[in-house]
């Protein structure tokens, strides 16, 4: 079927099989490969993107379900002149990553969390990351980064 999705502000239209997953649409049709497919079973959260502003696991959403809607991937966060989003800056400053595989999903989950709750407690950040697995960092620096970003955004 013909699917049209606005990805990071740009319209992307493609004729894809009905069973195409949003993760694959983003990677193969939009050509944006930062969104990783990790577990493929909606457990790990590496494929997290925003669908109309809310975090979703794009391995468990059909491209057809996103037809006519807006998707934001981690490539869409930085400003046009290349300045990183506060959450991205905080992940760098706080060393919120090691291998980086989970990072695009972590960042998108964090952006969604802060949009709903701009000043979360550490507990709320940890609960907000329930859907994202990291196998390197033990989460501490990721949580620190998100708390730092929340202070940055509020101030």
């Amino acid at each position: 079927m013909k699917v049209s999705v606005t990805v990071n502000g740009n319209p992307v239209t493609a004729d894809v099989p009905d069973r195409t997953l949003l993760a694959h649409f983003v990677r193969e049709q939009a050509g944006l490969t930062a969104t990783n497919v990790g577990c493929d079973t909606s457990s790990c959260g590496a494929c997290t993107v925003l669908l109309d502003g809310q975090s979703v696991k794009s391995c468990t959403v059909l491209a057809a379900q996103a037809d006519g809607r807006a998707v934001t991937t981690v490539e869409g966060l930085a400003s046009v002149d290349g300045e990183l989003h506060p959450v991205q800056q905080a992940f760098r400053a706080e060393h919120g990553l090691q291998c980086g595989f989970c990072t695009p999903g972590m960042v998108m989950a964090a952006v969604s969390l802060l949009a709903e709750n701009p000043s979360p407690t550490e507990e709320e950040v940890r609960l907000g990351l329930e859907g994202n697995l990291c196998r390197c960092t033990g989460y501490h620096n990721i949580v620190r980064a998100i708390l730092a970003a929340s202070k940055e955004q509020v101030s």
Binding site: S42, Q65, E130, G131
Partner: protein
């Protein structure tokens, strides 16, 4: 990992969804948030030939007061249930249970109607609607009918919905008293409950203690005859047939059911 090939159809109204389902017959399934169905399709545990996407029927997404009951549209997401102020005031059990399903991403997509129609005994909301004594409203080719939650869950992934019938609304009587509790035991935050317990007004329902969500009727009878919560909770596993799986065997689940029921009854009493 992608599902087997199917034909995707999108419904613009409930009537259109019913018409598409009638055309699709036994090979068609409704798709709401897709967070139960799509994972099963990837694993080939479900292989529908037609998916009817009802995800845009925004007229089925609401929480409102309605003649002494609270009406919840079947397409209301877990996220919206958890944040609904009417539920926070009148039905905190449903809001609290919804806030614990899966993870934030799952709660953005998953819907109460999808969870109930899927009838997974390990899911939380089926037991919650049992404890709330809800009535489920379904529309099908022969019109609308109401099904008591107690009659809705008929077996493993098996509900009272007829082929082509669509669950549209969940009607919940306003609780008589304030006492409620939801206890869920998991190994990881995002897991299904190994065992869960929902309590409202001395109705006790169990998650993952059999082929379908069940009321702990022996506990309820003990409470009705005046037993203290801790004494009633020892009957929690009576009449159940919990599964053995890698998260625990049946004996362990029976133990958990007793412990969690005691905690739930204590908490409900402290709120009542």
């Amino acid at each position: 990992m992608i599902p087997a090939a199917f034909s995707y159809q999108r419904a613009g109204s409930v009537d259109e969804a019913l018409a598409l389902a009638a055309d699709g017959g036994d090979d068609a399934k409704f798709l709401a948030g897709g967070h139960s169905l799509l994972p099963l399709m990837k694993l080939r545990l479900a292989v529908p030939e037609v998916l009817i996407d009802i995800g845009r029927l925004s007229e089925l997404s609401y929480v409102r007061a309605d003649n002494g009951a609270i009406a919840v549209g079947a397409l209301t997401s877990y996220h919206d249930l958890a944040r609904a102020s009417l539920l926070a005031r009148e039905l905190p059990l449903l809001a609290e249970a919804a806030s614990q399903v899966g993870d934030p991403q799952v709660r953005h997509r998953g819907t109460i109607g999808g969870s109930l129609a899927h009838a997974d005994p390990a899911a939380d909301l089926p037991a919650v609607v049992l404890a709330l004594d809800a009535v489920l409203v379904a529309r099908g080719p022969s019109g609308e009918r109401q099904i008591a939650a107690a009659d809705f869950f008929q077996g493993l992934f098996e509900s009272a919905l007829e082929p082509g019938e669509l669950l549209t609304e969940i009607r919940i009587p306003r609780p008589a008293a304030a006492g409620w509790s939801f206890q869920k035991f998991t190994k990881r935050a995002i897991d299904w409950a190994i065992v869960g317990v929902a309590v409202q007004d001395r109705r006790v329902a169990l998650v993952n203690m059999g082929q379908q969500p069940v009321r702990a009727s022996a506990v309820e009878q003990a409470l009705a005859s005046g037993a203290a919560p801790r004494d009633a909770a020892v009957f929690a596993a009576e009449g159940t047939s919990p599964p053995d799986d890698l998260n625990g065997d049946a004996r362990y689940r029976a133990h958990l059911a007793r412990v969690l029921t005691a905690r739930a009854l204590d908490e409900a009493a402290s709120r009542g």
